[in-house]
């Protein structure tokens, strides 16, 4: 029995730990440090139809227990990802979740249609919530009807299950989640970054060239936990949780809130070995907490008095 294995739509994961999109590139750098086959899955950097350079630098700024980024969806474009990155990743025994973005619904649809054909892409993650691009991005992530429409269109063309990535920059995340579930999404991933800003005291100008950026890291963890807690009780599709995860304890906290798997973003920059380390530490932590299988932790903060039942692979 594998105590960490989890089953999600399209994804049979040896463990529920995966690097978050944009925090792991296409895996090449981390592959120099450890065997990527150890990972539950990999969420690759957002892919758009054409190559994009992204925003001007500076693109990152530090904040208390967090960081702002305004990369602006830099990526080599669909064709290169299909021809170079995904085939390269195929050497590892690890499912890929393709994060896709676009400026128009048509662009999303086109990317989804193509990239979902790649043999090692087992699921899509619709990035409808990137705060760092002028067109698209944000609007798709904040208006339920728009998000639902996009989900529907992508579902129609995708050959693999579709996960939609929720933005935390909304008044009512449950409403968004419900609309997206109703539109046919197979799962949710949450949360993307919070829109933030820093201003340099000496120059009086924003630190980021793009002015605003997305806040990630431990600072946002309590917001992620709250949103997953709310959404997991309102929908029945699974949630891949993220936002400030740094340790095995954090992973358990996300499961308790309602996540069925998690992604680790910013922490990869602080400790490039964080994902394999967490995977290695989880079994001992499960022992300490008295769980047979990690899936028992999902939703435990709101599933009161539920008997401890093994429900894994």
């Amino acid at each position: 029995m594998n105590r960490l294995a989890v089953q999600l739509p399209g994804l049979s994961l040896k463990n529920p730990i995966m690097p978050a999109s944009g925090c792991f590139g296409f895996g090449r750098e981390y592959a120099q440090l450890y065997d990527l086959s150890q990972l539950g899955a990999i969420m690759i950097k957002a892919t758009t139809l054409e190559a994009r350079f992204g925003n001007s630098t500076p693109r990152v700024a530090e904040t208390p227990s967090g960081m702002l980024n305004a990369i602006g969806l830099q990526n080599p474009g669909l064709q290169k990802v299909m021809e170079e990155e995904l085939p390269w990743l195929a050497q590892f025994d690890v499912p890929i979740i393709a994060n896709i973005a676009g400026s128009t619904m048509e662009e999303y649809v086109e990317v989804a249609k193509e990239i979902s054909k790649a043999p090692n892409v087992y699921a899509l993650e619709l990035n409808i919530s990137c705060p760092n691009v002028k067109k698209g991005g944000m609007a798709f992530g904040t208006v339920p009807e728009v998000a639902a429409e996009l989900t529907k269109l992508v579902k129609e063309v995708s050959e693999v299950p579709v996960y939609v990535k929720l933005s935390p920059n909304v008044t009512n995340v449950v409403e968004m989640a419900r609309a997206i579930e109703a539109a046919g999404a197979d799962g949710l991933t949450m949360i993307n970054t919070l829109l933030g800003m820093r201003i340099d005291v000496k120059t009086a100008q924003p630190v980021l060239a793009n002015r605003t950026g997305g806040l990630s890291g431990p600072a946002i963890k309590p917001i992620a936990i709250r949103m997953i807690y709310e959404v997991s009780q309102a929908v029945s599709i699974p949630i891949i949780g993220m936002g400030g995860i740094q340790s095995a304890e954090d992973v358990i906290e996300f499961f308790y809130a309602g996540a069925s798997a998690v992604a680790v973003g910013t922490a990869n920059f602080i400790d490039p070995f964080v994902c394999p380390n967490i995977i290695a530490e989880l079994p001992a932590l499960l022992d300490e907490l008295g769980f047979e299988h990690i899936s028992e932790c999902t939703g435990r903060s709101w599933k009161k008095g539920e008997p401890s039942v093994y429900c894994g692979a």
């Binding site: 750098e29 981390y30 350079f53 992204g54 904040t63 890291g217 920059f269």
Partner: protein
């Protein structure tokens, strides 16, 4: 190969106003090869300050398994770093990036080494290596003023050394480019590290020379994964180089400054 290691501080002291020399020891030193490479340092175990800090290798001594970093106390990270004492450890990821190409210059040729402010440190290991190769080295070091000047004597031991200070409190009053023009220094290859305006001036001043420039950019990961530190490449809308993993040293013209 790049590794993560908790290295022990063996010496740590101020060498000029707000400038500190930090000497670390550990097996990681044996992975450090090229002058111009840097390390990424996590200063506390807590989440604030969150990010690692990129600092260049100034000396690499494999015999004693020690390396030295010289840094300026700037913001919160370097301030906290400056409070660490010998015997404590720091969390080091490295070595990162590609250093200065040593084989760009041959024995008997002349290398002009130009450093500005806190860009000076990586040039020291570079100069030592070039001298060992019997390259003739000329140093031009620029500082704001005499109080923040460091390593003048160390460089002088390796070869001809000129200093410029902005306020004229030591050496030539003005910029490194003033010194180079004034002394009509001739050379085969130029290596430089320092503020971007200095690098731009050098690039423009010597369009027909072989020039290597070490760049700085705000970093996330330091290893090439996050796309924080990119710079543009001439004649392309989308092509890029990453300062952390493709640099920090680039040949002049390779990227847009």
């Amino acid at each position: 190969m790049m590794k993560r290691e908790h290295m022990m501080i063996v010496a740590h002291e101020p060498i000029a106003e707000n400038i500190y020399a930090l000497t670390l020891t550990g097996p990681l030193v044996h992975e450090m090869n090229k002058p111009g490479q840097f390390v990424h340092i996590k200063i506390t175990s807590q989440a604030d300050p969150l990010l690692r800090r990129p600092l260049s290798l100034c000396q690499i001594d494999k015999e004693t398994s020690q390396c030295t970093i010289i840094y300026r106390k700037e913001g919160i990270g370097t301030t906290l770093l400056s409070e660490k004492r010998p015997g404590e450890t720091v969390d080091v990821l490295g070595p990162l990036g590609n250093g200065f190409p040593l084989d760009a210059v041959k024995a008997g040729q002349t290398a002009l080494i130009v450093g500005g402010g806190i860009g000076v440190p990586p040039l020291y290991e570079l100069s030592k290596r070039l001298v060992k190769k019997d390259v003739n080295v000329i140093h031009v070091l620029g500082f704001q003023n005499k109080d923040v000047m460091f390593y003048k004597n160390e460089f002088a031991k390796l070869g001809e050394t000129h200093v410029a200070t902005v306020d004229g409190s030591y050496g030539t009053k003005g910029l490194v480019t003033d010194v180079i023009a004034e002394c009509a220094i001739s050379f085969d290859v130029l290596y430089a590290c320092g503020p971007k305006p200095m690098l731009k001036a050098l690039e423009q001043a010597f369009p027909n020379k072989e020039v290597y420039l070490s760049l700085e950019e705000r970093m996330g990961c330091g290893i090439g994964a996050c796309f924080a530190c990119v710079c543009r490449v001439p004649n392309s809308e989308t092509a890029y180089k990453k300062v952390c993993s493709d640099g920090p040293v680039f040949k002049a013209g390779e990227v847009i400054l």
